[in-house]
């Protein structure tokens, strides 16, 4: 295990890490640990499904598959969160939350890979990388020059 692995997340305390063993999104987290973005599709008709959608609204199929998708998309909406909940939020500055329309057709809410007091505007093209929160890898937006630095200030 490298030093990077035990560094804390820049944004949140590890108690907010998903409970992967009991999580319906486990395939997403397993892929994320390999550096891949996997999301659910209908096994029958290949329609994009929501994260917790179990029956396909296109064909009624009851099986879903998690497939690796391209880690890229466009900002659907974004906000900068100024309220920082004591005990849960570690950063001492406002932080971004971004809702992204992925090229795969899915939508995913993420923060940025590194601290950023601004949020990308609606329509901005972004790429997806992964933060480490506790033992879990979480998809995160990486898009612009000011998010390419080392950044882990916590």
């Amino acid at each position: 295990m490298s030093t990077m692995n035990v560094m804390s997340d820049w944004l949140l305390g590890a108690e907010l890490a998903p409970d992967v063993d009991n999580d319906p999104l486990r395939p997403l987290y397993d892929a994320a640990a390999r550096g891949e973005l996997a999301l659910p599709f209908c096994a029958s008709c290949k329609l994009t499904l929501e994260l917790e959608q179990y029956v396909c609204d296109g064909c009624g199929g009851q099986q879903r598959d998690w497939w690796v998708v391209a880690p890229e998309g466009v900002v659907h909406s974004s906000t900068v969160m100024h309220r920082r909940e004591p005990g849960l939020v570690l950063t001492d500055a406002p932080y971004p939350v971004v809702d992204v329309e992925l090229a795969s057709g899915h939508r995913l809410i993420m923060t940025t890979l590194h601290p950023d007091p601004t949020a990308p505007a609606i329509g901005t093209a972004v790429r997806v990388a992964f933060r480490r929160l506790g033992l879990v890898h979480i998809p995160a937006v990486t898009n612009s020059a000011n998010t390419t630095g080392p950044g882990e200030t916590a």
Binding site: L11, L12, E15, L16, A17, P18, D19, N22, D23, P24, L25, L28, T48, E50, L51, E52, D57, G73, V74, H76, S77, S78, T79, V80, M81, H82, R83, E85, P86, L88, V89, P94, Y95, V97, D99, E101, L102, A103, S104, G105, H106, R107, I109, M110, T111, A119, I122, L133, V136, I138, P139, A140
Partner: protein, 386 residues
């Protein structure tokens, strides 16, 4: 068909103070509101044969439930249910009560909602930020910093402003108008005057939403008595129409997932009542955030030909406006008790007991409820009958 009338309203004090040493649990608050509502209707517990309870979602060991029949001093009942459809619950309870009374399942129904999110040592924002769990889609959102409900509605607000071309000035107009109404409401938690500068000084919570764009949760309860018995009650507000819509939207690229849908609930309620939008004297909408008032006015087509931003900035929601809306200050400046906030204010207005905030000659009201991320819409049309 049996007429169904609201004949009783009971409210606790709406408190910003946490419950200390368990002296104001949801069950205790519900008991106080129910007693007041029964007294208002001129009846006692044994005159009631149906009880509908509502409470906040989430895992709270003391949330109000069907145990309130026994805890609250009721006798044998013919109907007892916990109604749960998030912010649409209150209107859903009125629909359920109306159905029970018109089909003969029950004759006199108490509907009660109680909530106590404020606990000692924590602000309400903290209570919401700490809740939500860490599995599933919500767990992933929370692990990405989406804590509490404000940032979700901030994303929705940003998107809506982007799509419609409305501006933060419109949010400000909703907040200051709500406050003008609250100044005349002794039950409102924020009554001090608020102008645009005061709004802009309000701390940003999640862009573009400031603290004053957000509702103010309280510990409190409201109870309503409905009956089909003509002998009960002195003030009668008739349930003229109800409607619901539950749009199922998909979070997929290229689609809007937060808005669109809900108009049918209002169309159906008005259709049952044999009324049109122009017949409404007041509107009481569910306004947990300023942007929701704007979206609902637009979605429900309540501003006539005027664009919603222009309508609101021109003061049309305020005193002497074209459509006095959220006349007690709403959830923003009045109190946030979910769907009971708009219903209680409609009852006050149609009874003519609004005091300094009374809309002269108010006979008809639209009451709205929304739940989730604007996933559930409920509408109710009331008319003063006596």
């Amino acid at each position: 068909m049996t007429n169904v009338d609201i004949v009783g309203l009971g409210m606790t004090q709406m408190s910003l103070r946490p419950s200390l040493s368990g002296d104001a649990t949801p069950v205790q608050l519900a008991g106080q509101a129910t007693r007041a509502a029964l007294a208002d209707a001129g009846i006692v517990h044994r005159d009631v044969d149906a009880l509908l309870v509502g409470s906040s979602q989430g895992v709270r060991p003391d949330r109000l439930g069907v145990g309130f029949a026994a805890q609250g001093g009721f006798g044998d009942l013919r109907l007892l249910e916990h109604v749960e459809i998030k912010g649409a619950t209150t209107v859903a309870m009125i629909q359920r009560a109306r159905h029970a009374i018109t089909t003969g399942e029950a004759s006199t129904v108490v509907c009660v909602f109680a909530d106590a999110p404020l606990v000692a040592g924590k602000g309400s924002g903290s209570t919401y930020a700490q809740s939500g769990g860490n599995i599933g889609a919500r767990g992933l959102e929370r692990a990405s910093g989406l804590l509490g409900s404000v940032p979700t509605y901030a994303l929705l607000a940003r998107r809506w402003l982007h799509v419609t071309g409305n501006s933060a000035e419109d949010l400000c107009a909703v907040a200051t108008t709500a406050r003008r109404w609250a100044e005349g409401n002794p039950d409102a938690v924020h009554r001090e005057p608020l102008d645009e500068d005061g709004y802009r000084r309000s701390p940003m919570i999640s862009e573009p939403l400031r603290r004053l764009d957000c509702a103010r949760p309280v510990n409190g309860a409201v109870a309503i008595v409905l009956t089909g018995e003509p002998a009960i009650g002195t003030s009668r507000l008739r349930v003229r129409g109800t409607g619901r819509e539950h749009p199922v939207r998909r979070r997929r690229a290229g689609a809007e997932s937060w808005f669109g849908g809900g108009r049918r609930a209002v169309d159906d309620a008005l259709g049952q009542a044999g009324m049109s939008r122009g017949d409404l004297d007041v509107a009481q909408l569910y306004d947990p955030f300023t942007v929701v008032t704007l979206i609902l006015l637009d979605e429900y087509r309540l501003t006539g030909e005027a664009p919603v931003g222009e309508f609101v900035r021109a003061g049309q929601l305020g005193p002497h406006g074209a459509l006095p809306t959220n006349t007690g200050g709403g959830q923003l400046s009045g109190f946030y008790l979910q769907g009971m906030t708009p219903l209680a204010e409609a009852v006050v207005q149609l009874r003519g007991t609004g005091g300094a905030r009374q809309v002269p000659g108010a006979i008809t009201a639209l009451v709205g409820g929304i739940g989730g991320r604007m996933d559930h819409h409920a509408a109710l049309v009331l008319e003063r009958a006596a």
